[in-house]
C-alpha cells in the first residue's frame, strides 16, 4: 500500500508510539483489503467506553491506556494514549447511573463506564452515546470521508447524507482517531457507490414507519452486501423512516449504501443511481405478497399474546418519536405486568424532558432511557418473556440475544400492548 511521507513518519514513530501502533494497524488492515492507499478523514464514530469482561480485566492490569492499546489499536505494546487527532465520538454504550432501579444492569459496568467517560473525555472523545450521531450534531457533509462504526449509522451516513464510510470496526476507528487516516477502499471510491439491485414497489404505497422498516428488511435480503436502489410507489420519507429502513437493510443483509432516486443525494435519477441506463438491472418486485412475507418473518418468533415489555427507539428515537409516544400514552396507564422503554440519545432526552414529553410518558408508567439499548447491554425488565417493538432490527436481534419472544408492529399497536398487556397487532 502506498504511504505518503507524512504517513511513513507516523509509522516510524515521529508522532509517538501510540500513533505508530495505530499506523501499523492501518497498514495491516489496508493490506488485508488490498487497498492502494489511505485517505484523510476527520470524523470518527467508534466505541471505547462500552463495558465488557475483557475490558475490565485489561483496565485492572494496566489502566485505560492498556485497554485502548489492546482493543482499539490491536497492539501489545505499553502505550500512553494521546488526545484524539481528529474529531471522534463515542457511539451507544452501556447504561448510565440514572438507569439504576429501572434497568437490571450490573453496577460494576456502570462504574467502569463512568471511569471510561472520564478518561476518554480528557482525551477529546465526544461522549454522544448514541447509535445515531447524525441526530445530535455529527452530520458529515456529502462526499466527506469518515470512519464510522454501527451498521445503522454507516448506512445512513452513506445513503442519506452522501458521506463516505465503510462499516469500520473497533480497532480501525481507534487507529483512525489517532491518525486521521483509514484505508481508501470500498465505499470511499466512486466506482463502488453505484446501485447493484433494483427494487420496484408495486401494488402498495410505502408510507408508514412500519412499512419503511419492512421494505428495508426486504432490501437487505435481496441485496446482501450490495447496493439496492428503490423505485416505485414510495412516499417521501423523513429522517425517522430512513433511519428505520437503513437499520433493517443492514440487519437482514449487510447493506451499507442504497439509493432512492429523487430523494437520496447521489441518485437524482435511476440512471444516475446505476451509472447509466445500460447498467440498470431487471427489477425485483416488492408487492403485497412480499410485504406480507416480511411481516410474517419478523413475527415468527412470537407465540404468546401476553406482552411484558415494549421497546421503542431502535435506532435511538428522534424527538418527534418521543412526542408521538407521549401523545399516545397521555392519560393512559401501562398494564401492571408490562413495562415500556423508549431509547433516545441523551441530548434529545433533555429536549423531551424540557418539552414535557418525558413527564407524560412517566405518568403512564413508561421510561425514556439514554445511552444504550437492551440488545447492546443484554438487559430487559426482569422476567421478560415476550416483548413488542416497532423496530425491525430489534425484532430480529433481541430474541437471539435475550432468548425471548418478539412481536413487530406499529407504534400504536405497541402502545396498546403496553396498556393492555396483550398483543393485538395485525398487518393493516
Amino acid at each position: 500500500m502506498f504511504l505518503t511521507e507524512d504517513e511513513k513518519r507516523m509509522r516510524d514513530g515521529a508522532e509517538g508510539d501510540a500513533v505508530a501502533a495505530a499506523m501499523d494497524l492501518l497498514i495491516r488492515y489496508g493490506f488485508a483489503l488490498d487497498a492502494e492507499r489511505l485517505c484523510d478523514i476527520r470524523n470518527v464514530a467508534g466505541t471505547m467506553t462500552q463495558p465488557s469482561p475483557v475490558k475490565a480485566r485489561l483496565v485492572a492490569e494496566g489502566g485505560w491506556d492498556k485497554a485502548f492499546a489492546v482493543i482499539n489499536l490491536d497492539s501489545d505494546l505499553d502505550l500512553t494514549i494521546p488526545s484524539m487527532r481528529v474529531p471522534t465520538c463515542q457511539l451507544q454504550h452501556g447504561f448510565g447511573p440514572d438507569s439504576a432501579g429501572i434497568v437490571p444492569y450490573p453496577a460494576e459496568n456502570v462504574a467502569l463506564q463512568e471511569d471510561a467517560e472520564s478518561f476518554y473525555g480528557r482525551h477529546g472523545v465526544n461522549i454522544l452515546a448514541t447509535c445515531t450521531p447524525y441526530q445530535v450534531g455529527n452530520l458529515p457533509l456529502r462526499g466527506e470521508h469518515c470512519a464510522w462504526m454501527e451498521s445503522s449509522a454507516v448506512i445512513y451516513a452513506n445513503s442519506v447524507l452522501g458521506a463516505r464510510t465503510n462499516c469500520e470496526g473497533i480497532a480501525s476507528t481507534g487507529a483512525a482517531s489517532l491518525t486521521g487516516k483509514v484505508p481508501c477502499w470500498g465505499n470511499h471510491l466512486d466506482a463502488n457507490r453505484h446501485g447493484t439491485h433494483l427494487i420496484d414497489v408495486r401494488g402498495l404505497t410505502v408510507e408508514s414507519f412500519q412499512d419503511w422498516g419492512m421494505l428495508g428488511y426486504f432490501a437487505g435480503g435481496v441485496a446482501g452486501e450490495d447496493r439496492p436502489v428503490i423505485i416505485g410507489d414510495v412516499a417521501r420519507p423523513d429522517l425517522t423512516e430512513l433511519k428505520h429502513f437503513g437499520a433493517a437493510a443492514a440487519t437482514s443483509g449487510g447493506v451499507e449504501l442504497y439509493h432512492i432516486p429523487g430523494i437520496t443525494p447521489e441518485a437524482p435519477t435511476v440512471e444516475a443511481a446505476f451509472n447509466g441506463a445500460t447498467s440498470v438491472p431487471e427489477a425485483v418486485v416488492y408487492g403485497p405478497a412480499e410485504r406480507r412475507a416480511m411481516y410474517e418473518t419478523l413475527n415468527e418468533i412470537g407465540s404468546s399474546d401476553d406482552v411484558d415489555f415494549v421497546l421503542l427507539g431502535c435506532p435511538h428515537a428522534s424527538v418527534d418519536q418521543i412526542r408521538r409516544t407521549a401523545e399516545l400514552l397521555d392519560g393512559r396507564r401501562l398494564s401492571a405486568g408490562t413495562e415500556l422503554w423508549i431509547m433516545a440519545p441523551r441530548s434529545l432526552k433533555v429536549v423531551a424532558d424540557r418539552s414535557g414529553y418525558t413527564a407524560v410518558i412517566e405518568r403512564a408508567g413508561g421510561r425514556v432511557l439514554a445511552d444504550s439499548c437492551p440488545a447492546m447491554s443484554r438487559a430487559a425488565p426482569r422476567g421478560t418473556r415476550v416483548f413488542a417493538t416497532d423496530s425491525a432490527k430489534q425484532a430480529h436481534y433481541l430474541p437471539a440475544i435475550l432468548g425471548i419472544e418478539a412481536w413487530f408492529g406499529t407504534l400504536d399497536e405497541c402502545v396498546d400492548a403496553a396498556v393492555t398487556g396483550r398483543w393485538n397487532g395485525e398487518l393493516a
Binding site: 488492515y29 488485508a32 490491536d74 462499516c167 469500520e168
Partner: protein
C-alpha cells in the same frame, strides 16, 4: 500428503495447518458468536452450537454488526479463536476481523472454498495458497 491446491490473495500472512470447519452461510460476529466459548450462537444458522476454536474457519462472508472484528479479537484474547480463516468474499468487517484475530487468512481463491472444502478436511494455508487434503 498432497491434495487440491487453491490459490488466492493473502489477507493475513503466515502458514498454518488444521481441520476445516465450513460454513455455507455468512457469519455474524456480534449476536452471532459467543467469544468466551468460540461457539456459533445464531439460531437457524447451519453451525448453531458448533465450536470453531482451533479450527480453520471457511466461510463465504461476514454479515451483521460492525462489532464483527471486536468479537473475533475477543476470541483471540479468550483463547477460543480459529487458527486460520478462508474467506470467500472480503469486506471491511472480515478483513479487520482476520487482522485482529492474527491468524493466517486468505481470500479471492480460484475456486469457491465453501464448495470445494468440506468440514473435516485437513487444510494447509501458506500465505496465498491453500492445500486441501480430503478426509
Amino acid at each position: 500428503m498432497t491434495g487440491l491446491i487453491l490459490r488466492g490473495r493473502t489477507v493475513v500472512p503466515g502458514s498454518v495447518e488444521g481441520e476445516a470447519l465450513v460454513s455455507h452461510e455468512p457469519i455474524s460476529g456480534w449476536g452471532g458468536i459467543d467469544p468466551a466459548r468460540g461457539v456459533i450462537i445464531e439460531p437457524r444458522h447451519e453451525l448453531f452450537g458448533v465450536c470453531f476454536a482451533g479450527k480453520i474457519l471457511v466461510f463465504p462472508s461476514a454479515k451483521g454488526s460492525s462489532g464483527w472484528s471486536g468479537f473475533f479479537q475477543t476470541t483471540r484474547l479468550s483463547g477460543t479463536a480459529p487458527v486460520g480463516m478462508v474467506i470467500g468474499r472480503i469486506s471491511a468487517k472480515s478483513a479487520l476481523g482476520a487482522v485482529v484475530t492474527r491468524v493466517p487468512s486468505v481470500t479471492d481463491l480460484d475456486a469457491d472454498p465453501c464448495e470445494v472444502i468440506a468440514t473435516g478436511d485437513w487444510l494447509l494455508i501458506d500465505n496465498a495458497k491453500v492445500e486441501v487434503v480430503k478426509r
